[in-house]
Symmetry: C2
Subunit: 119 residues, 2 copies
DNA sequence: CCAATACTAAGGTTTTTACCTAAGTAACAT
DNA sequence: ATGTTACTTAGGTAAAAACCTTAGTATTGG
């Protein structure tokens, strides 16, 4: 398969963590929010009814898989989206769909005949 | 935001479970395999070095979130892919990218105007 | 009928996740 | 200098996830 330079594959988050991160509604909402603009921890936390340390753990998960970056200036940490991992996940899904659709084309006739038979 | 009819949203698997299911490499490989053709439990399990009951649990997770369907004929249970949930996840990701790109455009405009001003 | 096949059920362990509270530290405003 | 703000650290609980083994139940081929 495709051999990726070690440094790149190490710095690029594995797709496991990306899907894992996106499986939580809180984290997805954070991503949706960061699509609009960068924001601080407390701005991000404000809509959620959750203790701050719990929320911050979500931010850490997002940063851990590379979906966001953060930097601290003074006492404020600002988060911003890093779209590459989203692209990675989207690509995997797109590939599955492409394969599926190719297969559907190949077997269209067969499927149609099966449905005829069902009646 | 978008209001979805209750019946639809209930029968359509929530995106949480889809991303969650896809976060496991075993389950992603099953999806990749099922893209080629339907297959039985043991066919699907064959490439994995894992006790069968453990593997079957993965299949249950996939079916639980709607990513696959199965039917039993005799003693053989056959699994097949159900692409709609994949589409759902892909759509969410695509939307994020669209928003992100729109924001980048806006930023470009902003930068351009700044540069105009400089002159 | 009987053994092999193809799953399935039951139950147990370890790790991870998602939350919490309480108590910090560092920066800023007054 | 002191209180308020903005996070951070530490630690603790409960539920879920990902494995395992052992012991089933149907089907089917000989």
């Amino acid at each position: 398969m495709t051999v990726v330079p070690r440094l790149l594959s190490a710095s690029q988050p594995p797709i496991d963590g990306i899907f894992r991160a996106l499986s939580d509604p809180t984290r997805r909402r954070v991503v949706e929010r960061l699509n609009r603009s960068p924001a601080s921890v407390s701005e991000l936390a404000q809509p959620f009814d959750m203790a701050l340390p719990s929320f911050i753990e979500h931010l850490r998960v997002l940063e851990g898989c590379g979906l966001v970056h953060s930097q601290k200036t003074g006492r404020i940490r600002t988060y911003q989206l890093a779209p590459e991992p989203l692209k990675l996940a989207e690509n995997w899904l797109a590939e599955q769909r492409a394969l599926w659709e190719r297969r559907l084309d190949q077997f269209d006739d067969y499927v149609l005949k099966l449905k005829e038979k069902d009646k």
